[in-house]
Amino acid sequence: MFLDFVEGPLWYAAAAVFLVGVAWRLAAIARAGLKEDLSVPRTAGAPGAVATVFRRFLPHREFMRPAAFQMVAGYAFHIGLFVLVLFAAPHVEFIEQRILGFGWTPAPHWVFLLAANFAFAGLLLLWLRRMLDPVLRRISTLDDHIGTGLTFVVMFTGCMALFESHDFLRALHMLFVDLLLIYFPFSRLMHAFTFILSRGFTGATMARKGVSA
């Protein structure tokens, strides 16, 4: 009943909102348009865009120290989350049965635990800093807290359901997954897709100027 609903109708609705919403957001960016840059470039923009998409995975050497916290916590969270989402055994099974029709080798249990620990520690540290650091307090919006909170709850309920013996816990997890998917396109969680565009735009502009950004 509850599980059937959150894994059935609600899941399809959430996935639809997610897909359509993300597409709509990306289309909105395209629709906003970009004026052609008439200045004479030093180097081509496109390779610079690609380069910057990858280069920004690490801060500039000079900025390592100021960015150390966000680097460590950010990577712990993001890599952890990535492993959890794509390689946790129940997720692989779900993807195989409900989405793609094929799966892949799931991560062993100890990798899952390690990933979950990294993800939780990273997310908690980042979230707490958002509440404590005057800078982050100043710039954070309600959306930041809802987005972080939803992600936290999804991870938390996911781990609660780790024992895989109670449908209720699985359903609870699925419920929050559905909510997260529905919330996703309307929120800052969109950065998961748009960061490529942002880095690309900046990288292209800077490459035209001959600066590797």
Binding site: A116, V135, T141, M160
Partner: protein, 352 residues
């Protein structure tokens, strides 16, 4: 030298055969003598297995044991310590910790009724002093969140059978307990990180000094008279070192319990559980007092951990030596980047 007759030779050979046969017979029959004696005399020897079973039962010197089944402790026939562990958990840990934690709450409630909220005597001055850095606060709240998650799930597992089964029913509680167990096991390995952060960011200023013992003698000012203190008073220092001590104990025993895949047997696990339970209960009891005095119990204390600043009058009343030092260094009132209520005409309409 007479020559040997063939008869003599034949006689000797026969004698040799007979002797051999006799010796063979003796060899074969002699071991039967005790049986024969026993049979005839009705002697009852003690069962040779008795000593063996005694050994197995009491495990003083465990006998050499082999089994086809691979696994932890599969070679142990009788685990005699299981019973003492059961006694500890069911008859000591659960009831005694219940009394301790309950007593702690009652004591705090009584303290609140008798002493009330500890106010800033002189009122707020409006002048702020930076007390904790962002990183210190981060370490504190990280510990607080992880501790709360672990503490709550741990208590559910400890008392749930007695408190929650009547409320949720066995099925309902099983769901709760399964979730709690997974969360407890999963957040466990994050706890060492929290302990390390606390150690790293708070170890400075937490060394014991002479003034701390005077503070203790005056009961932190509760027993009359003003008790001087530096950046941390004796209570806070004890709490800091307690955190490390209990934290270490919980981390070591917790990791042993959390990952039962390194061949640690039941004696190790039982020991780990013993120390895990005691440390956790004491830690949680301390946390009750700590949270009370940091929030409801004392005016002006919580903001030190939320905004990182305290009012100058609060500092004077509770940490006079530290305040004097801050004053000497010209750090009173200079709080960079603080969102003071009267922040220099900056735009406040943003956000949300």
């Amino acid at each position: 030298m007479g020559k040997k007759s063939p008869e003599a030779a034949g006689r000797r050979r026969r004698m040799m055969y007979r002797a051999l046969a006799l010796m063979l017979a003796a060899v074969l029959l002699l071991p039967l003598v005790p049986y024969a004696v026993a049979y005839v005399g009705g002697i009852t020897n003690p069962n040779p297995g008795a000593d063996l079973w005694r050994q197995v039962r009491q495990r003083e010197t465990p006998p050499e044991v082999r089994t086809q089944v691979r696994g932890v402790d599969t070679g142990v026939l009788i685990n005699a310590r299981g019973e003492s562990w059961r006694q500890f958990r069911m008859e000591q840990l659960i009831p005694w910790s219940g009394w301790f934690l309950g007593g702690m709450l009652v004591a705090i409630a009584l303290f609140y009724l008798l002493r009330g909220r500890i106010r800033i005597d002189k009122g707020r001055s409006g002048i702020l002093v930076q007390r904790f850095t962002v990183n210190q606060r981060l370490a504190h709240w990280f510990m607080a969140v992880v501790f709360t998650i672990l503490g709550l799930t741990g208590l559910v597992l400890l008392y749930g059978r007695f408190v929650l089964i009547p409320l949720l029913g066995p099925e309902g509680f099983s769901v709760t307990a399964a979730a709690c167990k997974e969360i407890h096991n999963l957040f466990g390995p994050i706890f060492p990180l929290a302990v390390l952060l606390i150690l790293f960011y708070f170890v400075r200023g937490n060394g014991f000094r002479g003034v701390d013992f005077k503070w203790l003698a005056k009961g932190g000012g509760l027993l009359g008279g003003h008790a001087s203190a530096g950046h941390f008073n004796m209570g806070q220092k004890l709490w800091f070192w307690g955190t490390l001590l209990f934290g270490l104990s919980l981390v070591v025993s917790g990791l042993i319990l959390d990952f039962p895949v390194f061949g640690q047997g039941r004696p190790v696990m039982e020991w780990a559980h013993f120390s895990h339970g005691i440390a956790a209960v004491l830690f949680i009891g301390g946390a009750f007092a700590h949270s009370y005095i940091g929030t409801l119990g004392m005016e002006g204390a919580l903001e030190a951990m939320t905004h990182g600043t305290v009012d100058a009058n609060w500092a004077k009343e509770h940490h006079d030596l530290w305040y004097a030092q801050m004053e000497a260094e010209g750090k009173v009132g200079a709080v960079p980047g603080q969102e003071a209520p009267a922040s220099s005409g900056s735009p406040e309409t943003a956000g949300g």
